[in-house]
Symmetry: C2
């Protein structure tokens, strides 16, 4: 084993976590939480969109995959895969397909996480058994959940190594072209990308504030009554965050309404049902 110091993990047991909670929630921060170094690292997460060109340490991909495979998987079915893209021309091709986002070209490593039922289909063929269970919406949900659990473990692992990353949902803008670029067999659906590298210290990322806990945490039953107040508070918290960054942004409410307002704003993802079917998932 190669020993590596945990660059991102200090002892965040005390004031470190208090300050991270303030960054994460602003005026709506919870009074008290439990803390240790791992929780400190999780609270300290930020999406990194600016990378230095440094190469990554040896065996980093095997390390992230070992972390990813150690996550839970529905019924141990393991219906996910990942494609590691490092070739600059190939990365540039995927960047163009995924909203033409330049950080994908910059990052030395781009992982594309897949909901993968093709392994199960191949097993069925080898054993001459029908696998009808792959034909329903449930099988896509299984694959999306498995791929996402795996990816998030990889993110926790890479941040512990001092690396940074950002998820790229825009991989779903043009899934057929992505499938062609990665030579995916049928029954494989690209869920999202993950651009990975060392964060550029000249352009540091910030902890992004989130909704007050009252908006997302419910006790025993769902309570919608606290939502309007929580959203109003959050609009204020996020406005303060953008001001601190000297950036002009619409309010969170306006962002959500514009991002999910009209079908066109989905940049092709309004066709996802048809596209998933074209990728081989009947989605009965």
């Amino acid at each position: 084993m190669t020993r590596v110091s945990s660059a991102a993990v200090g002892d965040e047991g005390g004031s470190g976590v208090a300050s991270l909670l303030a960054e994460r929630y602003g005026e709506a921060r919870p009074a008290d939480i439990l803390s240790n170094a791992v929780i400190g690292q999780l609270l300290n997460h930020r999406s990194v969109r600016a990378f230095v060109p440094d190469t990554l340490p040896e065996n980093v991909i095997e390390t992230l995959v070992a972390a990813a495979q150690s996550a839970s998987t529905s019924s141990n079915l393991q219906v996910w895969s990942v494609v590691a893209v490092e070739n600059p021309a190939h990365k540039a091709e995927l960047a163009a397909l995924a909203g033409d986002q330049d950080f994908i070209r910059q990052a030395p490593l781009f992982l594309v996480w897949l909901a993968d039922l093709s392994r199960v289909r191949a097993l069925g063929e080898a054993h001459e058994v029908t696998v009808e269970g792959t034909e329903f919406l449930e099988s896509l949900v299984l694959g999306v959940v498995d791929a996402t659990l795996a990816a998030q473990n990889a993110v926790v692992a890479l941040e512990s190594l001092g690396l940074g990353s950002v998820y790229v949902g825009a991989i779903r803008n043009r899934p057929l072209e992505v499938a062609e670029s990665l030579k995916l067999p049928p029954y494989v659906f690209p869920v999202f990308g993950l651009a990975i590298g060392y964060p550029d210290p000249q352009r540091p990322a910030s902890v992004k504030p989130r909704l007050p806990q009252a908006a997302v945490l419910h006790r025993e039953t769902y309570d919608a009554s606290r939502q309007p107040q929580a959203v109003e508070t959050y609009d204020r918290v996020l406005d303060a965050f953008w001001k601190g960054q000297a950036q002009e942004h619409p309010s969170w409410s306006q962002h959500v309404l514009s991002r999910l307002g009209r079908a066109q704003a989905l940049k092709g993802r309004d066709r996802l049902l048809a596209l998933a079917r074209a990728l081989g998932f009947p989605l009965r």
Copy 2:
């Protein structure tokens, strides 16, 4: 902040990780990976299905939600929520709906993770704006991804506190009844449950072996040619695991073919498309 020692996190930098890799991959373990305490904790994950009745520390729910909210979320839309169920009668009701699994009754805390577009719908109504973007399959994928990223961060946090957990996909067997039990508004879809508690030391859980990396990790493009050999190896590794547990189990291949073979084996989840629509998602 309350300081808590990291019960599950030792210095797994050296031989600890080597031994965990052997448990995770058996004969197919990768030669070398990077390691530190966080990676050691991730590799050490095991699903816990036996809990002691001890109560949980104060503020543990707020802690797990802070970790969960610190995960990435698609375009900062935060289209997820979680319901914390602690009432024994309510937990028993959900256990009955989710495959009648007794560990849900045993665990002091059961979290139900939700793909939640209702917040966006309510915002649209308040602003008298249509939110057509919520009507497509993409919006369910957004919600499932967001809920899963959040949940996995909560799992990493709870394991750092010495707690254990197991995901409960069977929450999707009867989603309409679950929605009724949790009083979910339309546009909210229960993705999975998570049973949480202190692991019972009398019935310790094991690290479950996974497929060789050759099965899930692809370089530049998808390579299906290595799958048959990887699956053959894995069938052998998992057989050895079950023998070590003095348990009789079918091979992994047989497990997969039976679990996804016929629609009936999905225990109602073959109706998920219709059920998600009944929960308010048009899934155009």
